[in-house]
């Protein structure tokens, strides 16, 4: 058993995966998680694309694998000071840790959809976010959906993504396929529903994503309209009227819906920024933490003993996050064994 202390900031799937690997390498990592549970965003998700695997499976498996780690829940890092080759990590519960390595795995925040006022989130009850819908799939309980039959639904892609005015130029990567996944799940719950997806581009880059898209079109009859929704308003009957341009036919298009789902994108989790910048990690042009380079050293901060994994450096899928966390664990091990 190594005596080296490794502090992992963030107990989402990145932090848990790295902790699991480090435990197997003989370390006892310390996970500091801000919320009262492990699993981060994935713990709130119902099923994962493209194979519809239950999100709870991966979270529970990782939770079992990291049970031997030191885990601080509902705890925040106040500051980190560098002391020679170690880091003094001060927590808000009064504990301070002298760590030989620190892994930042603070992930992302979901874009606040109320900022796109024209879409009516927080104004109309029929407008939900991808996270609200996912929670409803899991719990079956949402006052906005309870007892309602969904006959007509829409999905708005790129909410807060690829949007200079919203302050986010980046593509959030996962929303296209998530919209397709959620549209399929919704169609399974309401087989007679008509569902429209409003997109600017469909970016289905990952393994089996394109097959998923073809399934949605062919087997579920989901309609795709190329055009960004411009505005949403409430009609007399309490449903919402959605306007967009059907850019393929070059005509304005209007549709009345019972439910509109906004695909909120990923934005940086800025709570780590003051600590990261105090340690010499810069922010990249997209607001996420800057890796040493974006090709072969994504998990390296360029600072000794300081590593990065998952969506803190940019928008990531679950498998990308897991791959990075594994890679970061190995880099930490090599750093600690090959000399600092």
């Amino acid at each position: 058993m190594s005596k080296d202390n490794i502090v992992i900031i963030g107990g989402g799937i990145a932090g848990m995966t790295a902790a699991s690997r480090l435990l197997r390498l003989g370390y006892t990592p310390i996970i500091v998680e801000e919320s009262d549970h492990l699993g981060g965003h994935v713990a709130e998700w119902h099923k994962l694309f493209p194979d519809m695997a239950p999100a709870q499976d991966i979270v529970q498996r990782l939770a079992e694998e990291v049970s031997a780690a030191n885990i601080f829940l509902s705890t925040r890092v106040l500051f980190i000071n560098r002391l020679h080759d170690t880091y003094i990590v001060m927590l808000n519960n009064g504990v301070s840790i002298q760590a030989q390595a620190v892994l930042i795995a603070t992930g992302f925040n979901l874009f606040d959809a109320t900022k796109k006022e024209e879409y009516g989130y927080g104004i109309y009850d029929q407008v939900l976010t991808n996270r609200d819908l996912e929670r409803w799939f899991t719990t079956g309980d949402d006052p906005r959906l309870n007892g309602h039959e969904v006959k007509r639904a829409g999905f708005v892609h790129c909410v807060g993504s690829r949007d200079v005015k919203a302050g986010n130029t980046q593509c959030s990567k996962v929303c296209c396929v998530t919209a397709i996944k959620q549209a399929i799940e919704l169609k399974e719950k309401f087989p007679d529903a008509e569902i429209w997806c409003f997109y600017m581009d469909l970016r289905l880059f990952g393994k089996k994503y394109e097959d998923f898209y073809i399934n949605a079109q062919k087997d579920y009859g989901i309609h795709f309209i190329r055009g960004r929704v411009s505005e949403v308003s409430e009609g007399l009957d309490g449903r919402v009227i959605v306007k967009a341009e059907d850019t393929l036919s070059g005509k304005p298009v209007k549709v009345t819906l019972d439910l509109l789902v906004l695909m909120s994108g990923m934005v940086c989790n800025a709570t780590i920024n003051p600590i990261a910048t105090s340690l010499g990690i810069d922010l990249d042009s997209d607001g996420f933490l800057r890796s040493k380079d974006n090709i072969s050293h994504i998990v390296s901060s360029g600072r000794k003993g300081l590593f990065l994994a998952g969506a803190c450096t940019g928008t990531k899928t679950v498998p990308e996050t897991i791959a990075e966390a594994n890679s970061a664990a190995l880099d930490i091990h090599l750093y600690l064994t090959e000399g600092k």
Binding site: W196, L202, I214, Q217, K218, G221, H223, F224, R226, D246, L248, S249, K251, P252, V253, K254, V255, T256
Partner: protein
């Protein structure tokens, strides 16, 4: 009196009023109709397109937006050469689809006494 002003009808598509019955009838016998991703290969390769404006992509889109007459009219500009079928990346048998559409639309026109 002519003032030089006129009212133009709205060109907006109201999906609440779109009748998809023909589209659904066609999709029942040509399920691949649904997987068109509007890439435009069919229109780009079409021998007749430069002369008649024929575009399978637009025909499918018109059907999805309930514009049956426009779709049927466009089909009259098709020579059935089948080049579009060769280039479709999604493997839609567009030539067969056009024939099925003619068959369905012909029956529909007859029913309506046209």
């Amino acid at each position: 009196m002519e003032f030089g002003f006129k009212l133009s009808p709205s060109s907006a598509v109201n999906l609440d009023q779109v009748d998809l019955s023909l589209y659904e009838r066609l999709a029942a016998i040509e399920p691949d109709l649904r997987i068109c991703m509007a890439c435009g290969s069919c229109s780009a390769t079409c021998t007749a397109a430069p002369f008649t404006g024929m575009s399978v992509r637009k025909v499918i889109l018109d059907l999805q937006r309930g514009k049956e007459k426009e779709a049927a009219k466009m089909l009259s500009g098709c020579m059935l050469c089948g080049k579009c079928t060769m280039v479709c990346p999604r493997g839609i048998n567009t030539r067969h689809l056009i024939l099925s559409l003619c068959r369905i639309y012909g029956t529909k026109a007859k029913e309506e006494g046209k």
